[in-house]
Subunit: 479 residues, 2 copies
């Protein structure tokens, strides 16, 4: 079986070629496959299941925030799409446009949604008339299409899966509160589910979303020192609502324009999980999203009692709600070890004749290779606890890496030198668009990831223009 | 608040204008709203939540059958789409075609998926090489686009939500078994979740899916006597696989072509729920999919203790996992009764000062208006049991209606006369395509919904061509 043997081949080492390592992991861990159209991928069961776990968590957390799920059309009439000028500038070059329906040319071509702001505005325009109709806190799970030139699985695709929340509120305070609260939910998704410590904060003027008043972000540090923007929330002010004629009769009996937010995370998070946790043996998955949390590998499975005991353990764990797989295929244990390591299963459970005699199993943590011996009776207590510990181990490891890669600079030369090493570098500057352009140019791609402090120490000047610095910002090179 | 008052207006009676009644319910129960493009609708929270409950149930049931969820692209290259001739004939006239990407004309235009057979074939072609790679039992939740001329919310749309399973097996038996097993799951979705009794069976040659060897279906009877095809499963044989060059090395070390199935249900099921259970007061929702299962309406809520007790009951029910809403708005109880009746909430709980004194509540079943008095202490036991009973009441009511609308005919005149009254009419015929065409013509739209018996009694002739009848079929007029 030539195809299966490939899965067990060594993958490119991260330090040899990180990009190739990434692609190897995506393909060999069977997270995705390429379709015949550039940038469109097949999400395979093992990758899609991770996304489903993220969905489950977020749906629960969103519900606590009063979020209601809806579904809006895949297609946006171009006449509607063209209403908000700033919005168009951001997306127009990337649109895919349908021009033929049922064999006939469409009078108003349809844009395959790159994002659904304008549809939500269209819906809200019809459904809001009084302050009693507010707030509207809607979210949609869907795919979006952006005609990107350079694409990479999960990180940048012509199509990706995401959730997009679009909300209306009476006041600026409520709306900003929503944008910040959802940012916290995303941050907690990292901390409690993906085992990823995010840097979170507000975007600079230069980096914020087209048309937004404020954009907030969570940024994650990848193994190679580059940074991945992993989710954003936006406070739009009243601009979109005004452009799309959304108004309501307020408490004072006057026509008012609502305050709007939007927020989203996407399957890009799978890219973050791969690049934060993965190692030279392949994927390393946090237990909360791992499609298989425990893999049972029998040693000398033909020996009496081994398969039976493994099956018994499997059934017990399944009953407890642990996602478990018993690999009783005819491969060697060594092959299975390598295979499930590559697929990033958080915990391996081995059971051989000697273990059976001693009434114990050997558990191995994927994250650090740590081996734990547990008596078979203890398993029900031990495994959930060990999985919790695996999560902590992974989070702490990622956090240590992140912390070791946060530095500071006070001159552009220092920034430039330090960005060469990857990671985040904090620097005070004036916050101006042009200075940020220059920083990007000089550092060959260093961008403001988010604001660390909304003020700068007394007397500090912008290293570019020499005017007083107004903020301290995390700079980094990003995906 | 003019807009809100509308919701409480009477809706068209079913017997006056069933189509208008249907539209009224869709709109006034806030299941959906129209978008600005014909046939594309906004799925509002109240409608989408019903779909989410259907998804939850099916995902659980699919998992028992070894189904794995995946996600494939929204767009299909036309070159790939055009490979399977029979398939194309069915879908080509309804396609929406994207011709411009990133401002440039596409060399190979992209079809917005009307169904994903060809993408699954493309994926399988790459991922199957040995019998060890089989079976593949994949499913996808997504939306599909079909450029329909006549559209109605949920029943026929330019875009709708569905799940599409596409599977490969080594043998015909496994594949047919899969198609039949999933048909059972759909049937049980009706029985246990939607409270809809389906007629299930195989489609005739005339009605089966383009390119399938066998199509199986679940058909539901609507209140107006018309029938709605509510889900189908297909056994494709090896045709698609051969057309798309899918083969594998079999157990005998020879190249083999796999056997294929596909199956799906869609948001059309929401249409079925509306038209099977709804009445002149609006929607009637089965408890298993109702976004709100119990609505609490306080009577004289300003009286001491009322609101507090209502809140206490609400919290208790919420803790138990019951989906409950306390309507403590400043509307009158009468308005609230009408409102929540229209939205089809299965159970209403009233509590007024006298009830509080007597330590009881009044529960009213939406399906039949039956009132039950329950002591407040009993509520935790009573409500889950009453909700179960509501489900049974709804199922029995629908079943009684269905059974009263199944008739038999032995001549075309009899069939024609009986189809006038709506419902299913069983008749033996030869099974031929041309005879079925004639039956449709004579009865002005009567079609074979599915096969009742795969043989006909000795000596019975086809009422159209006079040849021996080979099967007994359910005929009906369908949506």
């Amino acid at each position: 079986m030539a195809k299966q043997a490939n899965k067990n081949e060594a993958i490119t080492a991260r330090d040899v070629d990180f990009a190739q390592w990434y692609t190897d992991v995506c393909r060999k861990a069977e997270l995705m496959d390429y379709s015949s159209v550039k940038g469109f991928i097949y999400y395979l069961p093992y990758g899609y299941a991770i996304w489903e776990e993220i969905q489950n968590y977020l749906n629960k957390r969103f519900k606590e925030q009063g979020v209601q799920n809806v579904y809006l059309p895949t297609l946006i009439p171009s006449s509607l799409f063209n209403k908000e000028k700033k919005h168009i500038e951001g997306f127009a070059p990337e649109t895919l446009v349908a021009t033929i329906g049922g064999g006939e040319r469409l009078a108003d071509p349809l844009i395959v949604r790159p994002t659904s702001e304008v549809l939500f505005c269209d819906l809200y325009k019809k459904s809001i008339s009084s302050y009693r109709d507010l707030p509207k806190i809607y979210n949609q799970w869907c795919s979006v299409v952006r005609w990107e030139k350079t694409t990479r699985p999960f990180l940048r695709g012509a199509e990706f899966l995401w959730q997009e929340g679009h909300c209306l509120f009476e006041t600026k305070e409520e709306a900003e509160g929503n944008a910040l609260k959802i940012l916290d939910v995303y941050d907690e998704l990292g901390r409690d589910v993906l085992a990823i410590p995010f840097i979170k904060g507000r975007k600079t003027e230069h980096e914020k979303f087209a048309g937004a008043v404020n954009t907030y972000t969570i940024e994650a540090l990848m193994h190679d020192g580059k940074v991945l923007q992993s989710g954003t929330t936006h406070y739009f002010g009243q601009g979109f609502a005004a452009a799309y004629d959304i108004s309501y009769l307020g408490r004072e009996n006057k026509l008012e324009t609502p305050h709007q937010t939007s927020w989203g995370v996407s399957t890009r998070l799978l890219g973050a999980v791969i690049m934060v946790h993965g190692d030279d043996n392949g994927l390393v998955l946090p237990p909360a999203v791992a499609p298989i949390q425990v893999v049972i590998v029998p040693i000398r499975q033909e020996a009496p009692g081994i398969k039976e005991k493994c099956l018994e353990i499997k059934n017990k764990l399944t009953e407890m709600g642990v996602r478990v797989l018993l690999d009783d295929s005819d491969r060697t244990p060594g092959w299975k070890f390598a295979q499930w390591e590559m697929k990033g299963v958080p915990l391996r459970l081995e059971l051989g004749p000697r273990d059976l005699e001693e009434n114990k199993v050997v558990l191995t943590k994927r994250v650090n290779g740590e081996k734990i011996s547990a008596s078979i009776e203890e398993i029900e207590q031990a495994i959930p606890e060990i999985l919790r510990q695996v999560h902590v181990d992974m989070y702490e490891k990622a956090k240590k890496h992140l912390e070791s890669k946060i530095d500071e600079a006070s001159t552009i030369e220092e920034l430039n030198a330090k960005l060469e090493n990857g990671g985040f570098v904090r620097m005070a500057f004036c916050g101006g668009m042009e200075c940020e352009d220059k920083i990007k140019e000089i550092t060959k791609g260093g961008t403001a990831r988010c604001i660390y402090k909304e003020s700068a120490p007394e007397g500090v000047k912008c290293p570019i223009c020499g005017k007083p610095a107004t903020m301290v910002v995390y700079f980094a090179k990003a995906y």
